[in-house]
Amino acid sequence: MSASQEVAMTDATHAHTLLAGAQRAAAQARARSRASWFPLVVFGLVILGSLPLFVYPEPVDGFSYSSSRLDGVLGGWFLSDFGRWVAVYWLVALPLGYFTTAAYFRRRARRTGLASRPGPLVLTGVLLLAMLVVVSLQSYVGIVPGNLVVRGLSPLLTVAVGLIVLAVSDRSPALGVIALAFLGISLLVNLYDLVNLMYRLGWEVPYRFDTWPNVVFPGAFLLVCGLVLRRRQQTP
């Protein structure tokens, strides 16, 4: 090896050491700053917390669909007016979920010395929820496809999009896969009654709890994914 080649080798070794050190420090900081398990658990609990509202009242003579526009998009079309309470629940619980997430991220940043970005999730989620409210109040028919809003679960789509945005800003492939799967699940439970599938499998669900599978599935999915991710993100 010539003298110039030896110098080049020394430069390359130094460059390799610098590069490896920089990449290791960045990866460690990124891993330690991630707390994306938290919103998954929070929104899983928020969704499951809505279960008591999705109980049909005892059958009465005659049908009356929920008449308020807000109930229709946020709370669904049901054979009673309990959609109104579902709408109120989403309007209170989802912003509270975003607020809790932002507060947790801030607290964690103070503890670890590494800030993370709750902004993209919070902004996307709150803006989409606000858009859903505006659409509800302005023009009910035509803008939002009816099939997508009849079950009172359309706010789940806003959470799903928010989580996708968080996955991108966090550069987290694991969260990206979970968020995309949750978007698929949210579309499914908004468009299809899972109780039909359960009947086909021979599982009897009492009439009053017909909607529960559509609420339990997305809620439990987020909760389980959040707890699994928590283990991964808290393991050094």
């Binding site: 430069d11 390359a12 390799h16 050491t17 590069l19 900081a29 670890t112 590494l114 993370s116």
Partner: protein, 107 residues
């Protein structure tokens, strides 16, 4: 980049500690002084000097505040810092690639 990649290196960034600071600051929106000090195994004075060099070059921004009664300094990468880091990493990769091409013979 023209010429040997080593000629394109930025003296401010081409240094283990400062490159470490920029890499960590790039991985997260803001990083606290204490985390940098612990991770890079530096004394407060030593880290302060490196941060001063980076700040004077416009590559990082520091923000001082309090968490309760405890003083805190947060470090944030600037746009110029992001570009400088990207350039430095590209140069380092080019140096390694150049040596692999010229010194290590093909099979």
């Amino acid at each position: 980049v023209t010429g040997h990649p080593i000629t394109g290196l930025d003296e401010v960034v081409h240094q283990r500690i400062r490159l470490g600071v920029l890499s960590i600051a790039h991985a997260t929106p803001r990083v606290e002084f204490g985390y940098l000090q612990e991770t890079l195994e530096l004394t407060p004075g030593n880290l302060s000097r490196h941060l001063q060099v980076l700040e004077e070059a416009g590559l990082v921004r520091t923000e001082k505040g309090y968490d309760g009664r405890r003083p805190r300094t947060w470090v944030q990468l600037t746009r110029a810092g992001r570009h400088a880091l990207r350039r430095e990493l590209d140069h380092l990769k080019q140096i390694i690639a150049t040596v692999e091409d010229t010194v290590i013979p093909d099979d």
